[in-house]
Symmetry: D3
Subunit: 183 residues, 6 copies
Amino acid sequence: MKQIANLLFEARMLKDLARSGYAFLGSGKESIAEHSFITAFICFAMAKMDDDISCEKLVTMALIHDIAEARTGDFNYVEKKYSKVDEAKAVSHLIKHISFGNDIKNLIDEFNSGETKEAKLARDADQISLVLELKKLDDTGAKGLEKWFSDVLKRLETDMGKQMAQSIMETRWNEWWMNDGSE
Amino acid sequence: MKQIANLLFEARMLKDLARSGYAFLGSGKESIAEHSFITAFICFAMAKMDDDISCEKLVTMALIHDIAEARTGDFNYVEKKYSKVDEAKAVSHLIKHISFGNDIKNLIDEFNSGETKEAKLARDADQISLVLELKKLDDTGAKGLEKWFSDVLKRLETDMGKQMAQSIMETRWNEWWMNDGSE
Amino acid sequence: MKQIANLLFEARMLKDLARSGYAFLGSGKESIAEHSFITAFICFAMAKMDDDISCEKLVTMALIHDIAEARTGDFNYVEKKYSKVDEAKAVSHLIKHISFGNDIKNLIDEFNSGETKEAKLARDADQISLVLELKKLDDTGAKGLEKWFSDVLKRLETDMGKQMAQSIMETRWNEWWMNDGSE
Amino acid sequence: MKQIANLLFEARMLKDLARSGYAFLGSGKESIAEHSFITAFICFAMAKMDDDISCEKLVTMALIHDIAEARTGDFNYVEKKYSKVDEAKAVSHLIKHISFGNDIKNLIDEFNSGETKEAKLARDADQISLVLELKKLDDTGAKGLEKWFSDVLKRLETDMGKQMAQSIMETRWNEWWMNDGSE
Amino acid sequence: MKQIANLLFEARMLKDLARSGYAFLGSGKESIAEHSFITAFICFAMAKMDDDISCEKLVTMALIHDIAEARTGDFNYVEKKYSKVDEAKAVSHLIKHISFGNDIKNLIDEFNSGETKEAKLARDADQISLVLELKKLDDTGAKGLEKWFSDVLKRLETDMGKQMAQSIMETRWNEWWMNDGSE
Amino acid sequence: MKQIANLLFEARMLKDLARSGYAFLGSGKESIAEHSFITAFICFAMAKMDDDISCEKLVTMALIHDIAEARTGDFNYVEKKYSKVDEAKAVSHLIKHISFGNDIKNLIDEFNSGETKEAKLARDADQISLVLELKKLDDTGAKGLEKWFSDVLKRLETDMGKQMAQSIMETRWNEWWMNDGSE
C-alpha cells in the first residue's frame, strides 16, 4: 500500500502544475488535473453516444494520459521544439512497484500510438478540452485566439470529435445556465 | 450535439468553482474539477487492485459524482446545516436533453445510496482525496488539522479505503520523487 | 467577551469567501467582505443625500446584511434554484450568546422584508455594488455583460437607487482620478 | 449624481488595493476594502455594547477612515519612515464636488485626532482588525508573529478595545463553527 | 557579510511588492522585481547597440533603480500627488553598513538626475518596460489603454528609446514564437 | 528594431513563467524574471566586493542566464531526469536576427561551462537566490525544507558564495527592516 500512497501523491501533483500553454496564450489558467478531469469527462460523453466504444478503456485512458507529466512537466508547442522528453522512462519509474503498473503503461502506449478507436477519441478529447477553454475566453473578452482555434480544430481526427468541437464553437459558454431548462 | 456542448460547458464550470471547505480549514485550495480528477484516479487504483470491482462503474461514478455542483455549489460541513439542496432537481435539469441522461442519474443515485460495493469505494475515495490534501498541508507547515484528520478518517467504510488512508498517513507527500526509483 | 471574539472571527470569514456570481460571469472576483464594504459605503452616501433616512440604520443594515453567509455560503442566481437556505436558522445560531443579538436579527429581518425606506435603499445598494463591478469590467475589456446589466438594473426599486445606477452607467470607472480635481 | 458615481468608483478602488503590511509579515493578504469592512463591523459590536457611544458616528467613521488611501496608497510601518503623506489634500480633492463632503472630512479629522470616545474606539478597532488576522495566521501555521502581536496590542487605548483583543488572543479562529451552537 | 545578507533580503522584498499602477489600469500585474529585471534587460540590449554606452553602468543602474522601493513602496501617478517620498533617506539607511554603499547611491543619484547618456537611456527603459506590458494587455483583450500609451510614449527622451517603443507598438506580443525562426 | 522588439517580448515572457521547483517544495512561488533579477542583484553585490571581478560580465551573465527558458521552460531536479533540453538550439533561434546575438550566446556558454571566475560566481548566485527563498519560507512557517537547504548549499563552489549563503542562513529574513538603522 505504501507504493499506492506514493502513486496517489504523484497523481495529486497534477493539481499543482499549471498547463504551460496559457502563458503563451496570454489569458486563462488551468492545472493538469483540471485538464485531465475535463478530458475524461468528454470521453465519458463520447462513450455513452456510441456502444461500440469501450467506456472503461476510453475514460481511464483519458484520466491517466498525462500522469507522467508529474515527473516530466507539461510541454507546449514552443517548448516541444527544444526538448526531447523520455515519457517512457518516466512511466517506467512511476509504475515500478505498482502491481497494476502494466495496465497504466499499456493505456499510455495505446494513447500515444493513436491507432485504436478509443485512442483516437481520447486524443480528440484532449484537444476538445482546449476548445472549451478557448471558447470561454473568447466569449468573455480575450483577443488573439484565431490561430489557436484554427490549429486545435485541425488536429481533430474523428467524426465525433469534429462534430463535438463544431457544436462547442456554435454555443456560448454560458448557455447551459442562461437557458437552463429549469422553467 | 448542441446539448452535449452545453453539458461539457457545465462540467467545465467545475474548474472555476473552489471547494468550500478550504476557507474553513484556513490553508490550501482546490477546484471541484481537481477534486473530481483525484477521486476518479483513486478509484482507478482501487479497481485495479480487486478484480471483483467494476472498473468502468467505479471510475465513471467518481468522475461525475459532483457534476450537479455546477448548479448547486459545493457545501461544506457548516453550510450543510443551513441548506437543503435539491440535488435530484439539479440532476434532472442537467440531463433533460441528454440521450444518456439516465446513465448519469443512475450513477449519482448509486453513489448517494452508498449500498453497492462500487458506491462504498467511490465514497471512500471522495474522503481519501481530502486525506491527500490534508497530509500535504501538514507536511508543508499548516497547523490545526488534527480534528480534520480524525473526522475524515472516521467516515471511511471499506477495508481498502481504510488501508489506503492509513498508508497515506504514514507517507510523506514528496517521497514519490525524493526517493523516486530512478537510480 | 469570548462570544464577541467568536462573532468577530465569524464576520472575518467573509474575507475568505468569494462571491459566487463571478464564476458564472467569467470575469472579476470579490469577497463577501468587499461586497459588504462597498454596499455600506453606498448606503452612507445615500443617507447623506436625504435627511429623512436614518443613517445609522441604513449603514449598519448594509454592513451586516450578508453576515449569515459565513455559515450558509453565498448563492448566485443558478444556485438559488436548487437550494433552500435557512438563513433564519443561521442567524439564530450566530446571535445565540450575543447580548445585542436581537439588533442583528432585526436589521436582517428588516432588510429581507424590504418594506421600510431604509430596507429598500439597502437592497438597491446591494445591486448597485454589482453595477460598479460590471461597469469596471466592461470598461476594461470583459465581454458578455449585457444580460447582467439589464437584470441588475431591473431589480432596483427606489428613485435614488435608479439615479445612482444610471449615473454609474454613464461614468467611466477611472474618471475619478483621470480627471481628479487636483489641478 | 455624476460626482457620486465618481466617489463610489473611488471607494471601489479599495477592493483592488492590498494592505501593504502583509508583504512584510510574509503571510496573509487583505484588501483595504476588507480591512474597512471588518473595522466597521468591530465598531458596530462596540457601539452595541455601550449605550453612551454614538453608533452612527463610530461605524461611519470606521467605514471611511481609509478612503483617502484610494489616492495616497496604504503605508506600513517601514514606508511611513520615508514618506510624508498629505492625507488632508487627498481628502480635499475627494470631497470637492460632494454635497456632504464636509461630513466625510469631519469624520476623518475626528478619527485622526483621536480625542473623542468614538475616535479612540475606531482607532482601536483599526488595530483589532489586525489582531484577528494575526491570530488566524498563527492558528494556521504562520511563524514569526511575536513582535507583531506585541506591537499591535501596545497600540490599544480603550478598555473595551483591550478586552476585545485579549479575548481574541484566547480564542481559536475557528471556534465559532467548530463549536457553533447548532446542537 | 551579515550586512550583505540584509541587503539581499531587502532586494528580495521587491519580489513581494506589486507595482501600484496596475490597480489603476484595471488589468495586469507585475512585481517590482519583474519590472527591474525587464528594465535591466532592455538596458542590456541598448548597450549592445551602441558602443559609446557604458554597459556596466547602464545595466547596474537599471537593476537597482527601484531598490529603495523596498522601504518606500512604489508610487503611481495619482499617489505621487499626495506623498513626498524621501528616497535619499531610504537609500542612506539601505547603504549604511555596505562597503560599496556609495556605488549604489551614486547610481541612483545619476538615474534621478537624468543627465548622463546612461541615465537618459535607463529612464527610457523604465518607460519601455511599461510599453511592453501595455502592448501585451492590448493584444490580449484589455480596453481603455489609449491614454496610458500616449502618456508613456511622451515621456521618452532618447532616439533609441523612441525607436524601440515605436517598434514594440508595431509588433504583436507573440510574434517572437508564432514566427520563431525555428523553421 | 523589429527583431529587438521580439527579443524584448521574449524576455518579458519570463515574467509569466513560474519556476517549476516550488510546486515540488510545496510552498512559495517565483517567476523566472524574479529569479533572474535577484540573481543579477547578488552578482552586483559580489562584483562590488572584489575588484578582480568584471562587474559587467558577471551581472549581464546573471541577467540573461535563463533567457532561453522562454522557449524551453524551466526544469526542476525531477523533470531534468526525463528531458534532454537543447538549450543551444533555443539560443541559436533566439539570437538569429540580433546584431549582438553572439554576445548573448557567449555569456550563456561561459555560464554553462562554469570555468571562469565570473561563471563560477554567477552559478553560485543562481543557488543563493534559492537560499534566500528557502530562508524566508522557513522563517515564516514552511516545513520540510531540510533536504532542500542541504542540497543547495552543497552545490556552491566559490568561497564568496559559501560565505554569503552561510550569512543568509544566520540572518532572519526581516532583520533588514526590523532593525533597519533608521534610528
